[in-house]
Symmetry: C2
Subunit: 387 residues, 2 copies
Amino acid sequence: MPYFLPEDYERRRRRAEAEMAARGLDALIVSDPANMHWLTGYDGWSFYVHQAVVLSGGGALWWGRGIDAAGAERTVVPGTRIEGYADHQVQNPELHPMTDLAGHLRELGLRGARIGVELDTYYYTAAAHACLASTLPDATLLDATGLINWLRLVKDPAEITLMRRAGRIVEAMHARILEVAEPGLPKHHLVAEIQRAGTRGTSEAWGDYPAIVPMTPSGLDATAPHLTWDDRPIEVGEATFFEIAGVHRRYHAPQSRTIWFGSPPDHFRRAEAAVLAGLEAGFAVARPGNRAEDIAAAFNATLRGHGFEKDNRCGYAIGLAYPPDWGERTVSFRAGDKTVLEPGMAFHFMPALWLEDGGLEISEPLLITERGAERLTTTPQSLFVKT
Amino acid sequence: MPYFLPEDYERRRRRAEAEMAARGLDALIVSDPANMHWLTGYDGWSFYVHQAVVLSGGGALWWGRGIDAAGAERTVVPGTRIEGYADHQVQNPELHPMTDLAGHLRELGLRGARIGVELDTYYYTAAAHACLASTLPDATLLDATGLINWLRLVKDPAEITLMRRAGRIVEAMHARILEVAEPGLPKHHLVAEIQRAGTRGTSEAWGDYPAIVPMTPSGLDATAPHLTWDDRPIEVGEATFFEIAGVHRRYHAPQSRTIWFGSPPDHFRRAEAAVLAGLEAGFAVARPGNRAEDIAAAFNATLRGHGFEKDNRCGYAIGLAYPPDWGERTVSFRAGDKTVLEPGMAFHFMPALWLEDGGLEISEPLLITERGAERLTTTPQSLFVKT
């Protein structure tokens, strides 16, 4: 059952074509699965083989592995042309599938065209680019990394509905963590409950898979941001942070919370106070007309006033996402990011502190509205303590 | 607690260096997270930013985002050098982190070296390659895609132990599916149980995250191989296939089974008979000295004898994996793959049939031993039927 309407896709494609025209592009090859989805509705775990959506003025072309054409037929908006390549071109060093795409581009009259490619996208490899360049020697390949990502920045009302539903899901996941987490529980048993809660979702929205698995490190492991779980039991006298996302129809609401088991030491309480004050300062300036870097500046100044420092970005744009990243890879809350905030933009405000003896994460997914910033959840905003 | 020993990593590094020498490479930049893990033990969900392991004769260098250096310190084998880059280089179009890696390579005396790169690897983008080429203009960058993957093909005894444990996990997951799947159950509730069972694992092995989420399509959706779930309830009179993997310490045992709810029609029973006979024919020739294509030939001839055709590969190498693919991207069971089978190789024998009205998947993870092929699970080998 498609959620978005044909006119939603039509509007998105026209916005993309306008941007292509502004950059003098005759065609655009889109390899980022989230961008492919946003443009056509295509949804499948097939991004481990080469695939793309091509825009060239006359509607969209979905191109991928032959066996995935059936998935395209079942998910893309009507009017999208579907072309599959032969299976012996899959992971075959002798025969790169990009030669097949080049054939379609020639048929479309793009032999000598100016073609945009997503040069710094996970699923557009250096070999894919080299193959395309050599099989289309008269074309000019231009970097269009982020072209579609930036168009996705302001969400339309239907997308905002999905993000609010995702917010309810992550809220339910944190509630479940608080319910079951206790000293002695092996970490993988806890993660199993988190995943179950995330996929079950809420009564109004089923849970989709997150672009990143739950991060749940404890104690010294939590000084590192991206370690995944094992079977060690939760211990008294340490913190565990939970960096997770609720997801509905590929739209993400990430949110982190931290639980201290036992009685938190003073410096952890001070870190909590600093982060909460920093969040408040950031929310106060998160409104249309201000800039992304204003949020970072307000947050960092407050943090420094409390005696803490954070030298990496404290937030990023969110929305539609596929592994390995739930960020949109556009706006970051950091000095130098001059993006002017507009209603409909969504961010993960992520003021994580990785301390010498543990990690503290209290983060918020938020939506910029006409009046300021709307929280996408009602999860209590504090360090959680369980004894 | 590291599972592999320093001498395991030492042996792997020496094998890689021997292959580099054979190809005349002074250095190798490894971007595939599974290859990074195999060479150093590094394990973290940080592959959404640029990172690498560099081999250049004098031990391994782990290079990645500054905040991930803490995760490297906690996972890599002692003796690995760790270098992080500044956070403002993360997802910043103006300042590609590969310029930082180029600086380290110059310090290592590799300014004019012959350097291997994994040209067709997900996380080695076209932009990363272009940046490296322009900041190291005197170096020669050579395609080394798959160099490490092929070294991983024959598993050592410690790896085989992990794969057998993963086999027990996927066995438990299928048992859980049979227990809870029933008409009327919304698909996402079923997936929630599958994920929970996979992460809980068995009494001997905790479950790690799979490189691909559960594929569980029903009815006509199962004519497409890579669609993920939604909330539609299971219905009587259709098949649902379950393509899932048990995972322990990143080692995968994928396995598929299919359930028909109600009474399966004749053509589905005929497809079952064809696939089971084809599996048997494939297993009969899956032994040291035979070739990968021999398994495909035996399977396909048997399938044709039963009146069915399959025109895509029917298996691939498995082992250590990260999203988006649990295959090793080396050997495929298909015509033309002349790889000679050896004890210690592991494969997912994957004779899926996507029919006009549904999908049938009965697949097996297997290990080549001195005497033939060992199944990694005891999951009953048939079409499951629930009424």
